[in-house]
Amino acid sequence: MKAAVLVFPGSNCDRDLAVALRQAGFDVKMVWHKDTELPSGVDVVGVPGGFSYGDYLRSGAIAARSPIIAALRRHALEGGYAIGICNGFQVLTETGLLPGVLMRNANLKFICRPVELEVATTNSDFTKGYEPGARVTFPVAHHDGNYVVPGDVLAALRGEDRVAFRYVEDLNGSVDRIAGVLSENRRVLGLMPHPERAADEALGGADGRALFAGLASLGVSA
């Protein structure tokens, strides 16, 4: 299984994500934002957390217009898998591959701590390794994680079982306590909490491992 992790100026979780993917068995390549092609045969693209372009204009907005994004878009439209974490989620909403917007946290604070999440659906390759309704703890570290989406889209997300993770308690003002959502084909996931920072017991928890293990068991490159 092959994974590519995109790297933007200001990404700071790219290596953590690569470590978590490698631990799950992926052959991981780092891909610079100015590249125009993904490595051939990539199964999963990771869009990492950080502060790409210093959050100028809007979080994720400039990164979402960089050259590699056209390749990511083609990958996703062809049914490829992608995961965007934190700033990566913001980038995916800015590209339109996922619906909604991550606005400034309702309490205006930068929130940096482990939070409890509910796995809201196990019907995806990202979440199939969890028990239905499972509670997991992932760290969050964001200023712009307040998920906002038009009412009709929210209804579609709920109706199509596309909410992947919910905060157990309201954290940042997100509508319906949404922490992560899936694309229509369930192969693109965006989430604000950091599963890659919860992939090793030695680093304070391993609840994130099942997510990467689920992706690694796709077998789509066979």
């Binding site: 619906p99 917007v101 606005m103 906002v148």
Partner: protein
């Protein structure tokens, strides 16, 4: 030609920063401010000399990058 783009959150989208500014104004003793909405102003220097073309081009820039039309609306002003 210069264009000025005003970007504001759409009506009904909660603006937590504007709310914080409203509270701060109240604590400074400014009374009677019932609402504060915060937005962005972006100024562009354009080589285009035809106002209609310039306005259309800037509108395309707004749709492509400058505004996130899920939550923001924009106005283009040529100055």
């Amino acid at each position: 030609m210069k264009a000025r783009v005003h970007i504001m959150l759409k009506t009904g989208v909660l603006d937590p920063q504007g709310e914080a500014v409203r509270h701060a104004l109240g604590s400074l003793g400014f009374e009677g401010v019932s609402s504060v909405r915060q937005g962005k102003v972006i100024e562009l220097e354009l080589s285009e000399t035809d106002p209609a073309k310039a306005e259309a081009e800037v509108a395309r820039m707004c749709e492509a990058l400058l505004a996130n039309t899920v939550i923001e609306r924009y106005d283009v002003e040529l100055v």
